[in-house]
């Protein structure tokens, strides 16, 4: 490959921090008649504003001009130099920063001779990298200013309403016939003390009346294609099949309540009911009772479901308070292993339940409460861990508080969007600072589909997801390198040499972002890479048997040449 790149090299003395250890003069002389170096200068410093101005003047803006900076590390002042040059019109891809300070001078003070040799090698490695580096072409698309929200529970309608406020068209798709998700099953939203019901009303109103919302009840997604900024989603709504084109997807499919199966003689004894059945009675005539017992952590926080579903404690507190309001002289006891009411609002609610007269007994996982009675519940026996004695509570009502578990078709939806799911079946998300983003750019998840949450948190997550979707679409041009929220610029996008590819599918199997796919091409299979999905990690390159897939910015030749230059 004939290359006419002219590389200009600048070695920074860093006010003696580098030049005291590394003999820059000998390196400069060595580079003078290097075939690829046009000019090589030694400067006192590179990173101050005035130096960057000086530097930018000496670098022509032509596409062939390359810059090799022998200075400090990117994390030290290197970043400031490159950003400064970028502001003055020099493409950072044409700059190679060689770390002579943190990487060489400062860690080999006591051996200047070999430090100089190492610096020379590092410079040669930098030249090799600069020469061999190609550039992945950036893909630019016009993001669709529409968002698909799946699920019309509290999280879904909050996301939809928020998107409407941001001026984005929303396709609200829900499996059920009526919006509201789990809220339809309950009378009051726990904890009703903090204004959540008013928020839900406001959202329902916005979603119901805004022209920007297209609501498809009773529909089911059948196919998904595309990537961030340009998804094509096909779904069946009632009888007809529809296809929409959206820029981002917010999954708010929620979760379902787990039935206790045969635990605590449920279904066998009259009077043993679940929280949902109790809620149904609150919506109806209400329940006359003299003594009721709630049992927490039923079918959860145990061997086969090792997680805490977080909402059952606040919900039981709400139901206990409601029972006491309807039966003022009744006795309500909650048997629990830990009351999960973190923060201020939920802790106050816990205190409010105590003041309302709810009694709490702590039991241990290994000694669960026993339910006695022939057909009707008569007595509960439980070993009270605090007092160390067995308690006998006669009660005619036992409410089993059960957890939220993932929907049955969560696996199907995850398959459609290529999402990972954790061991419990909830959708996996990225790091702590990106708690609603999935591994696929443009697909966000919020509400109980991600992890069981109360309505108040689901609403917050809906708004946050709407804001993140808006941040993604709020531009006329979405470029593949700008998408990832992790960093402002993706390092490189994989490129396939279709001629060499044997279609073995290793890259398709290993890609953590499902960016590779096989396409039939005259009878044989060839791999293609979706620029939008690819994040440039390079997993595919290391499993491709004949190197037909490469990261242009760090191709195999570049690594090979750097290896050669390492100890030349």
């Amino acid at each position: 490959m004939e290359d006419n790149k002219q590389t200009r090299c600048f070695l920074c003395e860093c006010y003696g921090e580098i030049s005291d250890v590394v003999d820059l003069e000998s390196i400069r002389k060595g580079l003078e008649h290097h075939p690829r170096i046009v000019s090589c200068e030694k400067v006192k410093s590179l990173c101050l504003e005035e130096n960057i101005d000086e530097l930018a003047k000496r670098i022509p803006l032509s596409p062939e001009s390359r810059v090799l900076l022998g200075a400090c590390s990117f994390l030290a002042r290197g970043d400031a130099i490159i950003t400064g040059l970028q502001k003055r019109g020099i493409d950072p891809k044409h700059i190679e920063l060689v770390d002579l300070r943190e990487g060489c001078a400062w860690i080999h003070r006591d051996d200047p001779a070999s430090a100089t040799k190492k610096a020379g090698d590092l410079i040669n490695m930098g030249i090799a990298a600069l020469v061999q580096r190609n550039y992945s072409e950036d893909l630019t698309i016009e993001p669709k200013q529409e968002v698909l929200v799946i699920g019309a529970g509290p999280a879904g309608i909050s996301a939809a309403a928020s998107l409407v406020k941001l001026g984005i068209t929303v396709h609200l798709l829900d499996r059920a016939k009526t919006p509201g998700g789990l809220l339809n099953l309950i009378k009051k939203i726990a904890p009703e003390t903090d204004g959540t019901p008013q928020h839900v009303e406001a959202f329902l109103y916005t979603v119901g009346n805004s022209p920007l919302v297209r609501y498809y009840p009773g529909s089911r997604i059948s196919a998904v294609r595309g990537s961030a900024g340009d998804f094509t989603v096909e779904f069946t709504s009632g009888s007809d099949v529809k296809s929409i084109n959206v820029g981002a997807v917010i999954i708010a499919t929620g979760a379902r309540v787990n039935l206790p199966g045969s635990l605590y003689r449920y279904k066998e004894l009259k009077g043993v009911i679940t929280g949902i059945e109790l809620e149904r009675s609150f919506k109806g005539p209400g329940m006359k009772v003299t003594s009721a017992v709630f049992i927490q952590c039923v079918g959860v926080r145990d061997a086969d479901r090792p997680y805490c579903s977080a909402i059952c404690c606040p919900v039981s507190l709400k139901q206990a308070i409601q029972l006491l309001e309807e039966n003022p002289d009744a006795e309500v006891t909650i048997l629990h292993r830990d009351i999960m009411c973190p923060g201020s609002v939920l802790e106050d609610y816990y205190r409010k339940a105590m003041e309302a007269g709810v009694r709490f007994v702590r039991y241990d996982q290994d000694t669960p409460p026993g339910i006695l009675g022939a057909e009707q519940v008569e007595e509960i026996r439980v070993y009270d861990v605090i007092t160390g004695r067995e308690r006998r509570i006669d009660a005619e009502l036992v409410v089993l508080s059960s957890p939220l578990i993932p929907h049955d078709d969560a696996a199907r939806v995850a398959e459609l969007f290529d999402l990972n799911r954790d061991i419990h079946g909830f959708y996996e998300v990225r790091s702590l600072m990106h708690p609603l983003e999935t591994t696929k750019d443009g697909v966000l998840v919020c509400g109980s589909a991600r992890w069981p949450v109360l309505a108040r948190t689901a609403i917050l997550q809906g708004e946050a997801a709407a804001m993140k979707a808006f941040a993604l679409l709020n531009t006329d041009q979405l470029t593949a390198t700008q998408i990832s929220q992790f960093k402002e610029r993706k390092f490189s996008l994989a490129l396939v040499d279709r001629q060499a590819c044997t279609g073995c599918g290793n890259c398709v199997a290993i890609c953590p972002y499902d960016a590779c796919s096989l396409e039939a091409d005259q009878g044989a299979y060839k791999s293609t890479v979706s620029q939008m999905r690819c994040t440039g990690c390079g997993s595919c390159v290391s499993v491709c048997p004949n190197g037909s897939i490469q990261l242009p910015e760090q191709n195999a030749l570049l690594i090979g040449e750097m290896l050669k230059a390492a100890f030349s």
Binding site: T502, G505, P545, N546, A556
Partner: protein, 284 residues
Amino acid sequence: MSLVEDARLKAKNALEEGLVDGVLALARVEDEPYPYVFEVAAETGMLELEPKWLLAKLAMNILRSSPQDYRLGIICRGCDERALNELSKRNQFDPARLHVIGLACSAEQARICLCTKPYPASIALGEKSEGFDPREDERARMFLSDDPGTRMQHWAAELSRCIKCYGCRNSCPICVCEPCKLEDDLWVRRGEIPADMVSYHLIRAFHLSDTCVACGGCTDACPVNIPLMLLQVAMRETLANNYGYEAGTDLERLSPVLSDLTIEPCPPLMEPGWLDSLKVNHET
């Protein structure tokens, strides 16, 4: 009825019933065995089973160059069948167009090939016989001895006789890449005989780390008689111990190296101690 007659009968029936359009097997022409595609039922009289001849790559090329609806039968041994599984996992041909007639190898054939599983999944011809552990073979014992020094001496001495004829790569049923990395000057310097032991042989061996079906093709093809298959023994054992994975036996299961630890757990890597602690111990 002897094994050969049984094979000829099965091939004839397959052709007559129109199950396949041709059967790939050996034929004896002027007393020399040749791979031959029997398309006429009568010719199956010339069908032979000996000697062992690896037909997997041949079958793939036949299927690739024949029309889409051409169905091929093949009389193939255990290693061929495993090789065909690996190739179909790599989308090199459509397995539906292949009709496998499994032939079990004899115990001494297994002894020669150092084969641990000398029988296909579905045995149509011959009986299952005992596999042979490569570590028992006395020549192999030197190459796989416990002391690294002797191992190195043997391997260095043997590999220094390599004339880089690429016979091992060409005969290996899995190697289908063109261009192949071993011909790229970046990985293996050109014009150097014997081939650079580390870069040529180890790169080739590692490319087959999770796909080698231990058919012995490389050892048979090597003109200077280097037991190349022994390079794979340690890796195949690691895969079997850590993941319970053997190449070519399960069409659905992808190589465990292509998925993360939550999907294909690997015991030594799972304990955080091994990786997380700074005092990373490497006595695997």
